[in-house]
């Protein structure tokens, strides 16, 4: 901490200051997670939402072949999307961070604008982009590369394209600090020692940002794991991710306890991965 007189408080005032944030954060974020944890052991009843109990049947169902397969698909989709995303984001962010500061700003604005754009809007625009009536296949027809316009959605590739699209700005923004803090003179030193740009990229830049790459991969992985609308709009039911099933159970099938159990599994997986990134971040220092 860089506050000059950082230290233990001398009176109650700081605790008073903390009361309101404490109430809000505990009530609105922490308590709900606890309730959800409790819920995952409750019993489902037809007439109302649920009934207090202590049973493991929700977890038993969550570990059934059906949901295990769904979890497997979710993890696979997230891994593939995160990998492709990183493959694009890494060199792109590197080039971006090498531009003059003032030149970077418009790209950064574009990136955070896309990042903040609703998943609904991105799903919708990609469904247009890949559709028969307004998609890029029309462009290919005009360029005589294709005979007639075709529809490319829904499908695995369509879903993957949109998932990479939505997570690309995140990956870039997470990679951006470590790449722009990477001392430019390191690559310049490599150049004066005879390394071509490609060589210095691989043996100077890459080894120095390996941790950041791993962190970004994990964050993007979690981000895609949480995608909800894109798989529904652009994928087929067999590609649906866990959040789709959780919402489905909670709202349409009125099975809150099962939804809670599935959410707990997702929580453990992502919290574990997040803590891992924290660990990595710390060991990097």
């Amino acid at each position: 901490m860089n506050h000059p007189s950082y230290g233990k408080p001398k009176n109650r005032w700081p605790y008073f200051l903390l009361t309101y944030p404490a109430i809000m954060i505990l009530l609105l974020f922490f308590v709900p997670l606890c309730i959800m944890f409790a819920l995952s052991f409750f019993k489902r009843i037809q007439s109302a939402f649920f009934e207090p109990a202590f049973v493991f049947e929700n977890y038993v169902r969550a570990f059934s072949t059906f949901f295990l397969q769904r979890i497997g698909v979710s993890l696979w989709v997230a891994a593939v999307a995160a990998f492709i995303c990183l493959l694009i984001a890494f060199p792109f962010t590197f080039f971006l961070s090498r531009l003059r500061r003032s030149r970077q700003v418009p790209y950064l604005v574009l990136l955070i604008s896309i990042l903040s754009l609703s998943e609904v809007i991105i799903a919708f625009s990609w469904s247009l982009l890949l559709s028969k009536t307004s998609g890029i296949s029309n462009l290919l027809v005009a360029l005589k590369l294709l005979d007639a316009p075709v529809s490319w959605a829904p499908g695995f590739v369509a879903m993957l394209s949109a998932l990479v699209y939505i997570s690309l700005p995140l990956a870039i923004i997470v990679l951006y600090p470590s790449l722009s803090r990477l001392d430019v003179s390191l690559t310049e030193a490599a150049t004066t020692l005879g390394a071509s740009p490609i060589v210095s990229f691989f043996n100077v830049v890459l080894p120095n940002v390996r941790q950041a790459l791993l962190t970004t991969f994990i964050l993007v992985f979690i981000f895609v794991l949480g995608s909800y609308l894109i798989p529904q709009v652009l994928g087929r039911p067999e590609h649906w991710t866990l959040p789709v099933h959780i919402t489905d159970q909670a709202l349409l099938k009125s099975n809150m306890p099962l939804a809670a159990a599935l959410a707990m599994l997702l929580l453990i997986a992502s919290a574990g991965l997040s803590l891992l990134t924290l660990r990595l971040g710390r060991s990097q220092l």
């Binding site: 506050h3 000059p4 230290g7 233990k8 408080p9 700081p14 605790y15 903390l18 309101y20 404490a22 809000m24 954060i25 609105l28 974020f29 709900p32 997670l33 959800m36 060199p91 792109f92 080039f95 971006l96 500061r101 970077q104 700003v105 418009p106 604005v109 574009l110 896309i114 903040s116 754009l117 609703s118 609904v120 809007i121 799903a123 919708f124 625009s125 247009l128 009536t133 998609g135 890029i136 700005p169 600090p177 722009s180 803090r181 071509s196 490609i198 979690i222 981000f223 794991l225 949480g226 909800y228 609308l229 866990l242 909670a250 709202l251 809150m256 997702l266 929580l267 997040s274 990134t277």
Partner: protein, 264 residues
């Protein structure tokens, strides 16, 4: 090499803007069809958005939810970020960690938790539940930007103020607050824009009673496409670009996003 670099860079930028171009084109169709390139140019779908209650009401709803949620998120983040920075208090650090946590988890978890909470409190479906749950979810953003601002403050300027006779609260009022104000603005804007675009939490806690704009768009996506959806999307994108563009123009966006302040 230079050419290859430019080519790759442009290709990625093209990938990023392609859906935006298509959606803009579609929003300009003269007929109620989703063609690209548009057939006939007109702004009628923009007028439709502003004139039809089924569109502008969700928009107004979303704007008020986003404004309130961002304000509440800020009100939670400011005292917390300040105490964590100023005092060595374990509770503060724990709360800080919890405040950052929602962004490290898939939002469906926060959404389901929120749903469970409001069911238990028997407020399921009430409009204010969306505001509060959004605020708790988005608190991460002002918390992060304000902390960044505090971290980057020069410790000596506070010491200088102290030697000139300012007490804690005067230091906060006259030195700290003016310094972190742009960071607060940035945090507010981030939270506001994200709330405006948030789908799953809003849908879970009050999807059937409070139709926000993203929910409205998704419903139209399911039950009949209309170019209004495209015009709304364009407006949303432009709004985000405008707000972030202002931050970029008047603030130091690269620094805000974590680039080193020392380089040019």
């Amino acid at each position: 090499m230079m050419i290859l670099k430019r080519f790759f860079f442009s290709l990625v930028v093209l990938y990023l803007v392609a859906p935006l171009v298509i959606i803009t084109g579609v929003s300009l169709n003269a007929q109620k069809r989703l063609f690209f390139p548009p057939q006939g140019l007109s702004l009628r779908w923009y007028f439709e958005f502003f004139s039809q209650a089924e569109w502008y009401l969700p928009a107004l709803r979303s704007l008020s939810i986003a404004g309130l949620a961002a304000l509440i998120a800020m009100s939670i983040a400011l005292p917390l970020a300040y105490t964590v920075w100023r005092y060595d208090i374990k509770l503060a650090r724990m709360l800080y960690f919890l405040g950052l946590a929602p962004f490290a988890l898939p939002p469906v978890i926060t959404a389901l938790g929120a749903l469970a909470l409001w069911i238990v409190l028997q407020s399921f479906g009430k409009p204010y539940t969306v505001v509060l749950s959004h605020a708790a979810f988005l608190v991460t953003l002002p918390l992060a930007t304000i902390s960044l601002g505090l971290q980057s403050m020069n410790a000596e300027s506070i010491e200088a103020a102290t030697t000139l006779g300012a007490d804690n609260s005067t230091v906060f009022r006259t030195i700290v607050f003016p310094y972190i104000r742009p960071y607060m603005m940035a945090g507010f804007v981030f939270a506001f824009v994200l709330s405006l675009n948030e789908y799953i939490i809003a849908f879970m806690v009050a999807g059937f009673t409070v139709e926000t704009l993203p929910i409205k768009i998704f419903n139209s996506l399911r039950y009949g496409y209309t170019p209004v959806m495209a015009s709304v999307s364009v407006i949303f994108f432009l709004l985000a670009t405008l707000l972030f563009g202002l931050i970029g123009k008047f603030g130091d966006l690269p620094k805000l996003l974590g680039a080193d302040s020392s380089s040019d």
